[in-house]
Symmetry: C2
Subunit: 226 residues, 2 copies
């Protein structure tokens, strides 16, 4: 993932991509998606992916702009062609993660028929994310404070909405419990479900992802409904 091409400057661009032979046709359908635009989008995504990994490994402060560039095959200040600064990279990661988590929760709750299935789906979806995007989860947990006030507020808002979906479902399952308690329980469940991204970097043989998934789902359900 962090491998860089051999020739940064004098690359022969003819063999890089299976590009269309004649760009003379220009971009008909893409409103703003010319070939260049696509490459730009790809590079931006690559920077984000590499940044998530690096931030998770060494922490936001332990990664330099130069590192980010090198990880995607460009060097240093080229990153500024895609992001306003280092903080903007972090903000994009965190906002993307919060939005993905929230979107998934809303989709999943809409599709479920009853509260029990909703909760099971919420748990499954969260486990999916935690096991699939462990780096992002880690960064989300650790580096939220590094954001400037504006971006931090935005992310907090998305997170709050995510929590509220859980609280809604829980309050339908357990109307006897106060919302404050359910909120504490939801946060505790997040801590439980996010445990593997934290403990995964501790050496030692762990069960396969499939087994972990089952364990976490069972534990989350039992803890929330206890």
């Amino acid at each position: 993932m962090a491998s860089s091409p051999a020739a940064p400057t004098a690359t022969a661009p003819a063999s890089v991509e299976p590009t269309a032979t004649a760009p003379t046709t220009v971009a008909p359908a893409s409103a703003s998606l010319t070939e260049r635009g696509r490459q730009k989008a790809d590079r931006r995504a690559a920077i984000l992916a590499a940044a998530a990994t690096l931030f998770a490994e060494r922490g936001y402060a332990g990664v330099t702009i130069e590192d980010l560039g090198t990880a995607v095959g460009v060097s240093g200040p080229a990153v500024y062609r895609h992001f306003a600064g280092k903080a903007a990279v972090l903000a994009a990661i965190l906002e993307g993660a919060s939005r993905a988590l929230l979107d998934g929760a809303e989709r999943v709750v809409d599709e479920a028929s009853d509260p029990e299935h909703s909760l099971r789906a919420l748990i499954a979806h969260h486990v999916d994310f935690a096991l699939g995007d462990a780096d992002v989860i880690l960064v989300q947990d650790r580096e939220l404070e590094q954001l400037d006030a504006g971006a931090r507020h935005d992310v907090r808002l998305l997170q709050r909405r995510y929590v509220e979906h859980w609280v809604d479902v829980l309050s339908r399952l357990r109307p006897d419990r106060a919302e404050a308690e359910l909120r504490v329980r939801a946060h505790a469940a997040f801590g439980l479900l996010n445990s593997t991204p934290h403990s995964a970097r501790i050496p030692g043989r762990r069960p396969a992802d499939g087994a972990v998934r089952g364990i976490l789902e069972e534990m989350a359900w039992a803890s929330l409904m206890s």
Copy 2:
């Protein structure tokens, strides 16, 4: 919160600097009861307490040596009279936390009569620590990677021993389960129990500590025994 030393948390980390890896349950520095020695120990403890709060708030990289000095009423390089460097402060915090957690677990397990009481006591002790030393828990979770290899290894060793106590108790309660699963469960329980230090800084009215304590203990037990 950053200046008042009087805190309900009575964690007095023993000396960590010297090479001697004594049991360190009690401060050996108090042997020299001279006025100066006591003041030095106090200042060292004050620096550690302030550092834990500041590291939790802004992250290890976001706190300067100058900040640490200012927080205890001295300025800048005076900190070097008590610690070899910024990293040594973090190391002292993390090693102190791990050792306190481990010592408590061993004491608690020794006193319990049967595995069920052992697990309940382990959970209660961990909740005590998480609610009482939230700052330290946060730093422990986030900044372990900032340590140099030696100190990180030491802390990991302490943490590993702590986990093994949990796994031991769990395997006596559920001999049918593989150790690998029990280890995953223990880590998940830690994530659950450590959730309040993470979510506490999110605004919003939460239940009192007593109520949170009960909720977390119930959830941890249910998740582990499910």
